[in-house]
């Protein structure tokens, strides 16, 4: 109980320094949390034991404690959460966030509606970041060769190298790609003082190819910004733009907006090897090997026609396999028919030439400036040599590195095996590693510096379009972590000048750079602007304007002429970022580990995916262990058959097979980095054979075929079919209902309901994590998932529609349908699940005795059971992530989606006191990047949800059971090109 209650703390008088305040908050919170947890656990178990012994009468719970503040901060009212704007960063690109804080304890992350990359949405990574914050396995102390040392010792060691007198010769920095103006300024400062120091950036998934592609096409590093809202036809060349890339949430939103506008529906062609979310959303999907995409791009360019290209597209290049011709030509015609309203997108994994060709096609179709604009990258030194670690590797190899400072990038693990950083790091005299965990890299480094989590840090960062956000901490570093900014500033002149002790804090640094970056004359309002930036979560007017760029046709022609299509390997290994652990950095996050991967519904591991045909050919079944051999390395991975993957490819995602720094994921899955060569994502040849061992894959869904139940479960149609039908989608199934029951409407002022637009839903899984974070949904581990005990209140069902080898994948979010005539309720013997006046199917955990009859009678199987005490043994730190407004469920009780009833009741209370500001949102709706989920009041005729319920496409799942769900689905409509079958 105490975790939800009065986590209050003393505070220093300086209210301007939220950091120290929150530090104190947390110290108390931690201490406070620890004791009651032990107690509660004890009571729960003893309660059971004693009740069984019939002695319940003789015990009483010990008293709880209430721990008030010493000085209550004026803005805090215990019990009322506060929201702070900040930003998270991935690959250097920012995503604006609003974070909910309960008495100094961040509990929930939402997207910032004002932020250009978020538009109010957040993805699974961001939703789960709050759990990473409270990860008890994070690094906790500065260590030197494994033993704890003082920070001053580290400062001394790092700043006293031989290079101090040699202008930085021998000093190397390895950073994550960053867009932070403050870091850029500190780096500039460092460079000024130590000109020979070398700064490199490393991330296995940097958009290096994109930058190079722009360099080929335009002669300079530019990033395309897509305006899908203006596009009618999109061709994605191995581009999973809906779930990857810095603008993924924005693009998902724009795409969905244009999908659900049936009168002007966007059409998407996707060419890809593995089955991605974007491929699932596509109207036409061409499955080809990743290495073939270049040929397809060239052929597409050739079919569209590049009049400005001297000598045209080389025929040798534009020679795709014959069966793909029809697709390419149809796409080309469609593109050509939509000049200025179409766009070709190249995927990050594709070589620069594909990007260049995409630019060329866009230019040829007058799409530049219309559906795609170009702008310089906000990333520091984008496209620069600094982004190539080869230089660092050779310096290390040559013994030219004295001191290497690695900030935030787990380079030892997250590098292709041919860049032997594991071994190379030892060649530097001393290495320091700033990381969240003591991981593979820290094991090779002299110093380990615990890193502050983004939610603990001051900093700044820029969105894909350059919009700057101030990163503000919600809590003081739990484990004394430092930021990259702090570490780098050790080397900056500004600090040295004032002596090491009087170092600037990151807060000062960020404020200073904010000050410096203000337009001239604006510094007068510095405080006001600073506060406004913090409040809004963005610094207005910092976006980088797009520029006009002309294609360097001659350069392109030259480059294309030089490009020789590589002969395809017999079996191609396609390595891609993982939708859950990305490149391994989230492998310590249980929410992400247990998040079913889109398309495959696989949890807790990666797998060597292969198409039905390849599996049949090789005699492989899902669960067989495969030995993969590539680049001279061997890795074992379980096989997973994914219909619709390109034949003769093996897909493997990055980030698994961790050995250190991710306790939960150790030994799970296969390390794709070990097989990669060159850049992590380039396709390579792979040999494989079965080892004979079998794996129990923790799949949340085992059966993907609809068994002819499409009309009952998932309505899908092409735009044409939909128009032809000209009737409501539920017209076919809705029959005149005869009932004995009194169907008078329920009494509540609001009547909550939901509409889920399957045309919008991409199945990305952000809602699943959002729900988990909001509702204290436990994770259960791979064994339990395998047994069928995953706890997600909201799951994404994935159905295969169409041809069994290359089906269309249709995701369907499935959650409690809040049936008007709920079948679960009348079978509960103790009134533990009943209906509220406002139409919610309520689940009363404390009344539940766990007969599970409700689950049996739920046709949607959305009820979850606490088979064990899943929260038991949770670390005290981990408990801080709990939402204090939601009960933490004991073992033996059912749970399920409540429509975020805690938010609804809070809203009711506020509304009735005249304090309600806006209609309540469910967590899934709030985070959904494509706005597929709409929740609202059905008794409000003007509400969006009411409108959607009246839509032609609306239908109820399993309508014929007369459960009358409050959740309606909108049929999944596709917009195929009539030219193509």
């Amino acid at each position: 109980m105490t975790a939800k209650d009065h986590l209050a703390a003393p505070s220093p008088p300086d209210e301007d320094d939220p950091r120290s305040r929150r530090a104190a908050d947390l110290a108390v919170a931690l201490e406070d949390a620890r004791d009651p947890i032990a107690r509660r656990d004890f009571i729960a178990r003893m309660g059971a034991a004693i009740a069984l012994a019939g002695l319940g009468a003789c015990t009483r719970a010990p008293r709880d404690e209430i721990i008030p503040y010493v000085v209550q901060p004026p803005e805090v009212t215990p019990g009322v959460p506060r929201f702070y704007a900040t930003a998270s960063t991935l690959e250097g690109y920012a995503l604006g966030l609003l974070v909910e804080s309960h008495e100094g304890r961040p509990t929930k992350v939402e997207g910032n509606p004002r932020h250009p990359a978020s538009l109010g949405a957040a993805g699974a990574f961001e939703q789960a970041s709050v759990l990473s914050l409270y990860d008890p396995t994070r690094a906790r102390a500065v260590t030197e060769r494994g033993s704890v040392v003082a920070w001053s010792r580290l400062e001394e060691a790092l700043t006293e190298g031989t290079w101090t007198s040699a202008a930085g010769d021998g000093l190397h920095f390895l950073l994550e790609p960053t867009s932070s103006p403050a870091i850029a300024a500190v780096l500039a400062d460092v460079r000024a003082r130590l000109p020979r120091a070398v700064v490199s950036f490393h991330s296995p998934l940097m958009p290096q190819n994109q930058w190079e592609g722009a360099l080929i096409a335009f002669g300079r590093v530019l990033e395309p910004r897509l305006a899908l809202e203006r596009a009618d036809v999109v061709v994605a060349l191995d581009a999973d733009f809906l779930t990857t890339g810095p603008a993924r949430l924005r693009l998902a939103r724009a795409f969905a907006d244009r999908r659900s506008t049936l009168d002007a529906m966007i059409r998407l062609y996707s060419v890809e090897a593995l089955y991605t979310v974007t491929g699932a959303a596509a109207d036409h999907r061409l499955r080809v090997r990743a290495g073939e995409v270049l040929a397809i791009a060239a052929a597409l360019a050739s079919a569209v026609g590049l009049p400005n290209l001297p000598a045209g597209v080389p025929a040798a290049l534009a020679a795709p396999a014959e069966p793909h011709r029809a697709f390419i030509e149809a796409a080309a015609r469609d593109l050509a028919a939509h000049r200025g309203r179409s766009v070709v997108i190249a995927g990050h994994a594709q070589p620069p030439e594909v990007h260049a060709l995409a630019h060329a096609i866009n230019a040829a179709l007058d799409n530049l400036g219309a559906t795609v604009t170009l702008a310089p990258s906000p990333i520091v030194a984008a496209g620069d040599m600094a982004h190539d670690t080869a230089m660092l590797a050779s310096a290390l190899d040559a013994g030219a590195v004295d001191t290497l400072v690695i900030c935030g990038t787990n380079v030892t693990y997250a590098s292709p095996a041919d860049q032997a950083f594991t071994e190379l790091l030892g060649r530097a005299r001393q290495t320091a590693y700033l990381g969240l965990h003591e991981d593979e890299t820290s094991a090779r480094c002299t110093f380990m510096i615990p890193e502050a989590h983004a939610l603990e840090s001051w900093g700044d960062t820029r969105a894909f379009d350059g919009t700057t956000s101030i990163v503000q901490p919600l809590i003081d570093p739990l484990f004394g972590g430092r930021t990259a900014l702090e570490v780098l500033s050790l080397f900056s002149g500004a600090d040295r000048a004032r002596g090491m002790i009087a170092r600037k804090t990151p807060y000062d640094l960020v404020r200073a750079h904010f000050h410096d970056d203000l337009p001239p004359g604006a510094t007068r309002d510095f405080e006001q602007r600073w506060r406004r930036a913090l409040k809004l979560g963005i610094v207005e007017g910092t976006a980088i304007d797009p520029i006009e760029a002309r294609v360097d046709w001659a350069g392109l022609a030259k480059r294309l002429a030089r490009t020789a299509p590589a002969p395809p390997p017999a079996i191609e290994l396609v390595i891609r970022p993982d939708p859950r652990v990305y490149d391994g950095r989230f492998a310590s996050n249980a929410w992400l580990l247990e998040l079913p991967a889109p398309v495959t519904n696989l949890t807790w591991t990666n797998a060597a995916t292969l198409s039905t045909e390849t599996a049949d050919m090789l005699g492989i079944e899902t669960g067989d262990e495969l030995e993969l051999r590539a680049s001279g390395e061997i890795v074992n991975a379980p096989a997973l058959v994914v219909p619709g993957q390109a034949t003769d490819t093996i897909g493997l995602t990055l980030g698994w097979g961790r050995s250190r720094g991710a306790t939960l994921a150790h030994g799970r899955g296969a390390n794709a980095f070990a097989l990669a060569a060159g850049t992590a994502l380039s396709p390579i040849s792979v040999d494989l054979h079965k080892t004979g061992r079998r794996h129990d894959l923790a799949l949340t869904q085992r059966h993907h075929h609809l068994e002819g139940r499409d009309e009952d479960i998932l309505h899908h149609a092409t735009l044409e079919e939909h128009r032809r039908a000209g009737a409501r989608h539920d017209a076919a199934t809705t029959k005149r209902r005869l009932t004995l029951y009194d169907k008078s409407p329920r009494a509540g002022t609001h009547q909550w309901g939901m509409a889920i637009d399957l045309t919008r839903c991409t199945g990305c899984g952000a809602c699943v994590v959002a729900c988990q974070a909001e509702n204290n949904v436990p994770t259960v581990g791979p064994d339990a998932v395998f047994l069928g005990r995953a706890m997600h209140w909201l799951r994404i069902d994935t159905y295969f529609v169409g041809a069994p080898e290359a089906p269309e994948i249709a995701p369907q979010p499935m959650l409690c349908q809040h049936c008007e005539m709920a079948p679960c309720e009348y079978v509960c013997p103790v009134n533990a699940t009943v209906h509220s006046d406002d139409g919610l199917n309520e689940m009363v955990y404390n009344r539940c005795v766990g007969t599970r009859f409700c689950s049996n009678n739920c046709p949607y199987k959305v009820r979850r059971f606490n088979w064990f005490d899943f929260h038991r043994g949770e670390d005290a730190t981990r408990e801080l992530a709990h939402n204090p407004d939601v009960t933490v469920r004991q073992r033996g009780v059912m749970e399920k989606c409540t429509f975020c009833v805690q938010r609804l009741r809070e809203h009711d209370i506020r509304e009735r006191q005249g304090r309600a500001t806006k209609p309540p949102e469910t967590a899934c709706q709030q985070t959904c990047p494509s706005r597929a989920i709409v929740f609202g009041d059905l008794s409000d005729a003007a509400a969006e949800v009411t409108r959607l319920r009246g839509d032609d496409r609306a239908y109820a799942v399993l309508d014929e059971l007369a459960t009358e769900p409050r959740v309606r689905y909108l049929a999944r409509i596709k917009n195929p090109n009539p030219e193509l079958p």
Partner: protein
């Protein structure tokens, strides 16, 4: 075997019947009585935790502060009107006054220690609800439910104790018929208020004017 044993006399003396009946009656009484006793026990103040003040780190006396000094409830428990939690005052709130008066009182040593050491005072919770109950002070205080209705005569408590059973049954009694317990908003903190006209009439009016609902659906309190 036949006839070998002593078969003549009664196996038991006459008084054994009384013992037998007593035993059977006792067993029957136990079968019926044990649950009945437990049911009754659950309603005792002991079981509900009423009436027993815990040992607090400071002997804070509401009688003195409320009655003698006339400090209103909101001065210290200001969250009640805006938040789900009424809030326990920060040490600084104590110090507001106690930096002026009783500055050296040994009774207040803990307050000073807390303030200067920047360590919170660890109070014992008196009115404890289970983890799965979400009570909202603001929803009650702003709808005419007086402090005294749930907390009792705090102004007469030397040490605060739980005045009401705080069982679900007790909550529901009011939730089903809120009009029986409503008072004008300006009397919410008044410990001594009594209705100046029949509560039925007043309650009905207040219920209408304040828009008080009878919330008996589960998610009203259990989420």
């Amino acid at each position: 075997m036949h006839g070998a044993a002593d078969l003549r006399v009664n196996l038991f003396p006459a008084y054994a019947n009384q013992i037998y009946w007593l035993a059977i009656g006792g067993a029957a009484a136990a079968i019926v009585g044990t649950p009945a006793a437990l049911i009754a026990w659950a309603r005792t103040p002991y079981a509900t935790g009423q009436g027993e003040p815990p040992d607090q780190p400071i002997k804070f006396d509401h009688r003195h502060h409320v009655r003698d000094d006339g400090i209103t409830c909101e001065y210290c428990h200001g969250g009640a009107a805006r938040s789900s939690k009424a809030g326990i005052p920060a040490t600084s709130v104590c110090v507001n006054c106690h930096s002026q008066i009783w500055t050296t009182s040994p009774e207040l040593a803990e307050v000073r220690r807390s303030y200067f050491a920047n360590e919170p005072i660890r109070w014992k919770r008196v009115n404890a609800l289970p983890d799965f109950v979400f009570f909202d002070h603001s929803a009650h205080v702003n709808k005419g439910v007086g402090c005294v209705t749930c907390h009792g005569r705090i102004d007469r408590m030397g040490q605060v104790y739980q005045a009401r059973p705080l069982t679900m049954r007790w909550c529901l009694e009011c939730h089903r018929a809120p009009e029986e317990h409503l008072r004008p908003l300006d009397k919410v903190t008044d410990m001594e208020w009594t209705p100046d006209r029949p509560q039925e009439e007043l309650g009905r009016e207040l219920r209408a004017s304040l828009g008080v609902r009878s919330i008996v659906e589960c998610s009203g309190c259990h989420r």
